[in-house]
């Protein structure tokens, strides 16, 4: 593209007239907010040089091109399902991203980085003291009650040495630029900072949208930060080459996508609490090869929910006994449970003094002035200045009767104000008073105009063997409103990439480790049982969806007035409908109705548990809970398929339309199979996906043979069956005599060369089981083998002449038994994994 080539290094004065006009119109019409600093303009309304350079380059794309480039790049967001969830909502929302990044010069950045690093070190030191000797509390620098109000003050871990040596390895600070132009810390994130994965994703989008501009701007790269973080995590383990797990609350967490994305990017195992077992002071992952040690757990589960035995007994997200394993030093938990105590607003006001006392220097980044009302003098001060302050909870999670959310007192009604005064009198320690902060603004692009939007910048620090490393960039959230005291993802906030501009060309970073540091390996450890379970069911859902589509196709073709319309005999049609009813794709009442309605319901009836849309949704949900294991393409195809079937304006009105939709859905499914066959690495995960398909296909082949290839079957039936198993052409080239029961049965059930026959599935299943790890090294057969081997022998040695319905039914049932045995042997939900119950208690 012409513009793309010319952009690099272009100064504003060199712009062609059209671009120059665009740039000057943007700048001329940009309105900043009174009394609030802005990132683009300095106080004299002069654009800052790095911003100007960026906007000049950006102006070289004409309006349409800029929009198209961004739209194309953000399609990636939708296609890969980058999303977040608002708490309580079932559906995820797609990711809102600004076309313009936040741009920060390297001098500015150096100050931020230094301040965040200092703060990370300070917080680590305070945490070490709080969970150690508590000298800061004894000396009066930190009131005990300013700690104990936090649900993240984990008393059970006082006096416990963190297995990795550190209380906090990951830290994030929410920053805003105050009216004086300085950066202020609004909030500390010390429990399990979120958003770093989104920052990665935002960078990916913008660097793809404007590659030349991105390269010309010397934007500092993010990869070295993540590499450092990984090294830091590995170093906290007690053995080399540790297994690192990312502990997630599960697919219903607000930021599940981000967790899955990070796990995949960093090469960690994504696990839920139920995937872990604490035994003998260590933690293990349940895998298909038995229990395997978890050395380091990067947690996204709040401390209180980690261990139902010692902490919140109602938690379903945790692992009983995991605290004991931490105490024994058997697992490094990052951050240590309890590190979240430093997120309390109650502590903000103490940090300036603590910094002097602990580090012997002042805070490089100030925090918002905050007064904890648990102290008499501070409470008085807050009381006297009440109307000019924001009053909010001193701690997170004080429960139902706790403080209302932070409000500016001046905004309260007289009654609310009285109520607040009463609460402050009763339980002063639950509250903090904070001065009002107005955030600075940055330009965002709306309708080809620049608009000033308040923003908050989250900056990340990760501990590495060389100390804390700061991510050069971050996670920026902008607000639509002009008063941005609190920006959360729920409130129509948008995000922006953050570009830290170096003053010299940025080296192309490769994450290649030194030659001697890496041991070649071809498998990424053992597959967790839950992932195996999900993959297996994903395979089954997809295969069942395909089979159902084939049935629906036959319904449609039977109606079409073409010469080859053959399955028009009433009995064949009835057989077809009965099968769909048995599979739950149609309800009983559909029998009498027309075939178009039946096809439509089969495709789109959201209530029927066997309809194609239902199966595709089930597949998508299953896939969603292990996104880190599926390629972006796979996920995109699955979403596509769902959209195609769910859109109401595409409900087919004729057989031809229905047929077209079915064909298109079948094509997507074929692409999915192709991806699984060609693009999935052939380790255990692929085997479970394929086993699911094979079992389902084998069972379906039997079922269809029992419906359409019986002693009483007509040639219509046999013809339909060949359609359903996609074997028309093969049959006709093999048998010139026409349709007959025995050869059709042979082809559908016993022919090991036909990829849709039972025999072929059985052989594939055998290969899979042979390749999977054994639980015990005693050379004995495991239960799935005991079931499959006799079946394989029997299928192999049977001949079609003696094959009857009873025999086929027996094959089908054996496959169902095999499915159960596979679940018992490899999955969490099998019979071996009994449910846990709490012991009853007495009062």
């Amino acid at each position: 593209m012409a513009a793309e080539a010319s952009i690099a290094g272009r100064e504003p004065q060199d712009l062609d007239p059209a671009s120059a006009a665009r740039l000057s119109s943007w700048l001329r019409n940009y309105r900043t907010l009174p009394g609030v600093p802005d990132e683009l303009f300095d106080v004299m309304r002069r654009p800052r040089p790095d911003w100007l350079r960026f906007l000049a380059g950006f102006a070289e794309y004409n309006h349409d091109e800029a929009r198209n480039r961004f739209a194309l790049a953000t399609r990636h967001i939708r296609d890969t399902g980058v999303s977040y969830r608002i708490y309580g909502e079932e559906n995820e929302r797609s990711w809102p991203l600004n076309p313009l990044p936040l741009i920060l010069g390297h001098r500015e950045w150096a100050q931020i980085a230094e301040g965040v690093e200092q703060r990370a070190n300070l917080i680590e030191a305070v945490l070490q003291d709080v969970y150690g000797e508590a000298r800061l509390v004894e000396s009066g620098a930190l009131p005990a009650a300013a700690l104990t109000g936090s649900p993240d003050f984990i008393r059970a871990l006082r006096g416990v040495k963190p297995p990795g040596g550190r209380q906090m390895q990951l830290y994030a600070a929410d920053l805003g630029r105050g009216p004086d132009g300085r950066w202020w810390v609004l909030d500390d994130r010390t429990q399990a900072p979120s958003g770093a994965g989104y920052a990665l994703e935002n960078r990916l989008v913008l660097s793809r949208a404007y590659p030349a501009l991105y390269n010309a701007m010397n934007v500092q790269r993010l990869a070295p930060f993540f590499d450092g973080m990984r090294q830091g995590l590995a170093a906290s383990a007690s053995r080399s080459d540790p297994r690192i797990c990312l502990l997630t609350p599960g697919p219903f967490s607000e930021t599940y996508f981000e967790q899955a994305h990070l796990a995949r990017y960093l090469g960690f195992l994504l696990v839920e609490g139920a995937d872990l077992v604490a035994r003998d002071g260590k933690v293990y992952v349940r895998t298909i090869a038995g229990l395997k040690r978890a050395d380091v757990i990067l947690r996204r589960v709040d401390a209180d929910f980690l261990d139902p035995l010692e902490l919140n007994g109602a938690s379903r997200l945790g692992t009983p006994g995991i605290l004991e394993a931490i105490r024994s030093g058997g697992v490094a938990m990052v951050n240590m449970p309890g590190a979240g105590v430093m997120e309390s607003k109650a502590l903000l006001g103490f940090l300036p003094k603590l910094c002097r006392q602990v580090l012997g220097e002042g805070l490089k980044l100030p925090n918002i002035a905050t007064w904890w009302c648990g102290q008499a003098a501070e409470a008085d001060r807050v009381d006297h200045n009440l109307d000019s302050l924001v009053i909010g909870p001193a701690f997170n999670g004080l429960g139902d009767g706790g403080p209302p959310k932070a409000r500016l007192v001046a905004d309260l009604s007289a009654a609310e104000r009285d109520d607040l005064r009463g609460r402050l009198r009763d339980r002063p320690g639950d509250y903090v008073g904070q001065e009002v902060v107005r955030l600075s603004t940055m330009p965002v692009l709306r309708d080809n105009r620049l608009q000033a939007a308040p923003f908050v910048l989250r900056v990340y620090a990760a501990w590495t063997p060389d100390g804390f490393r700061i991510m050069p960039g971050g996670f920026c959230r902008t607000s639509d409103r002009t008063d941005a005291r609190a920006i959360s993802m729920g409130d129509e906030a948008c995000t922006a990439d953050v570009w830290v501009i170096d003053d010299q060309p940025v080296e192309r970073v490769t994450l290649l480790a030194g030659k001697d540091d890496v041991t070649v390996r071809r498998k990424l450890g053992h597959l967790p049982s839950r992932a195996a379970d999900n993959l297996y069911w994903l395979g089954r859902y997809i295969e069942r969806a395909e089979a159902t589509l084939r049935l629906a196709r036959s319904l449609c073709t039977s109606l079409m007035a073409s010469e080859s319309a053959i399955h028009n005999s009433g009995e064949t049609l009835a057989g077809l409908q009965k099968l769909l009813i048995d599979w739950g794709a149609l309800d009983e009442t559909a029998l009498g109705r027309g075939s178009l309605e039946a096809a439509r319901d089969t495709l789109r009836d959201q209530q029927a548990y066997g309809s194609v849309i239902y199966l595709v949704r089930a597949a998508r949900r299953t896939a969603a809970s292990m996104r880190e294991r599926l390629s972006a393409d796979f996920w995109a195809l699955l979403l596509n398929l769902e959209t195609e079937l769910a859109e109401t304006d595409r409900t087919p009105n004729s057989e031809a339309e229905a047929l077209q939709q079915i064909e298109s859905a079948l094509q997507i499914l074929a692409a999915l199979s192709g991806l699984a066959q060609e693009n999935m690495i052939r380790v255990a995960g692929w085997r479970f996906l394929d086993m699911g398909r094979r079992i389902e296909r084998g069972i379906n082949a039997c079922r269809m043979a029992r419906t359409f290839a019986t002693e009483t079957s007509t040639t219509d039936d046999l013809d339909l069956l060949l359609d359903l198993v996609d074997s028309q052409i093969t049959y006709r080239s093999r048998y010139l005599v026409g349709l007959a029961l025995v050869p059709v049965r042979d082809m559908v059930v016993l022919d090991c060369f036909n990829t849709r026959s039972l025999a072929f599935q059985v052989q594939a299943l055998k290969d899979h089981l042979d390749a999977l790890p054994a639980l015990l090294d005693d050379g004995m057969l495991e239960e799935p083998d005991r079931i499959l081997l006799p079946l394989a022998t029997e299928v192999e040695t049977s001949d079609a002449v003696h094959l009857d319905d009873a025999k086929i039914l027996q094959f089908e049932r054996t496959l169902m038994r095999l499915s159960g045995a596979i679940a018992d042997r490899y999955f969490l939900q099998g019979a071996m994994a009994v449910p846990t119950i709490k012991l009853a208690s007495m009062g």
Partner: protein, 308 residues
């Protein structure tokens, strides 16, 4: 006063249990007013590992793991405890309650002897406006804290009905308060909620209460029960004082402390997670036998055996 205590819990499972992990809090505390002389906890079947340590609130715990199949789990705690008479507090000379509140929020003690651990709401003792307002009646401005807390306790005794049928082990304090009815656990949670609502530090105490057989009748084995009451932090001078809202007494030599925490969840004698496909039944038998006989006096005692 020296007591011998036998506290036996039996779980019977419908189907065999293959794995159990439990935390046991069955070893009485040594406190300012009581001394543990001797204690033993036995478990059948024999645990594969037993780990003895001190829990977050100073309670002595055993963490046990049983990894062989069993259909019955029997846990017995046997102890001898010497309970002293304790200090005599001059109620009316105690500090004004508002001053005690300020002392509590300003304390430099992070440990469980100090008030900071017991100032904030928990799941079982949330701040509930109705309960706070009920408590406020006793806490008039400037009133000495012990007098006020005793008044609250006595009002609860008068206003509440002891009735094991109205609540279960998981009934929220607010519900029991609305019903003005419950057992010792409910009364303790309600009183703690009320005190928290006013910014005072209060703890949940689990333990035993000496009961006496009816005159002329022999003591029945297993007829006693566990009990629960409230410990209130009454300022730097008076420290922690036990209030028993079930019986309207300040605790003295009849109350034997087993464990102290923020609410029932912190001190449950047995907390456990078992792998089990079936249901369970639970039986608890407690004997509290004083070494010497005392003048009989009738008291309520709390007893509840229900499965959650």
């Amino acid at each position: 006063m020296i007591y011998s205590i036998n506290h036996r819990t039996t779980y019977v499972y419908e189907k065999p249990v293959g794995f159990a992990r439990c935390v046991l809090r069955l070893t009485p505390a040594t406190t300012a007013t009581q001394t543990l002389l001797d204690s033993r906890v036995t478990v059948t079947p024999e645990p594969s590992t037993t780990l003895v340590r001190v829990g977050p609130f100073g309670e002595r715990t055993q963490t046990i793991v049983i990894d062989k199949a069993h259909s019955e789990l029997v846990i017995t705690g046997t102890s001898r405890v010497d309970v002293g008479a304790g200090k005599n507090h001059d109620r009316d000379a105690s500090a004004p309650w508002e001053a005690v509140r300020a002392q509590a929020f300003g304390t430099r003690a992070l440990g469980t002897d100090g008030p900071a651990a017991y100032l904030y709401p928990t799941r079982r003792t949330p701040v509930v406006t109705a309960i706070t307002d009920y408590a406020r009646t006793s806490f008039t401005p400037g009133r000495p804290v012990i007098t006020a807390a005793a008044d609250l306790m006595e009002r609860m005794y008068a206003d509440f009905t002891y009735d094991p049928e109205t609540t279960t082990v998981s009934t929220p304090a607010a519900i029991a308060f609305e019903a003005r009815s419950g057992v010792c656990q409910d009364f303790a949670h309600i009183m703690i909620s009320g005190l928290h609502g006013l910014g005072l530090a209060a703890a949940y105490v689990s333990g035993y209460l000496r009961t006496n057989p009816p005159p002329g009748k022999p003591r029945l084995a297993g007829a006693d029960a566990t009990h629960a009451w409230v410990s209130v932090w009454c300022g730097e001078v008076d420290g922690w004082i036990g209030f028993d809202p079930t019986n309207a007494v300040l605790t003295r030599q009849d109350h034997i402390v087993l464990a102290v925490g923020r609410d029932y969840s912190d001190v449950a004698p047995i907390d456990g997670i078992v792998l089990s496909p079936g249901s369970q039944t639970l039986k608890v038998e407690v004997d509290v036998v004083p070494d010497s006989e005392m003048v009989p006096e009738v008291m309520h005692h709390s007893m509840r055996v229900d499965a959650e």
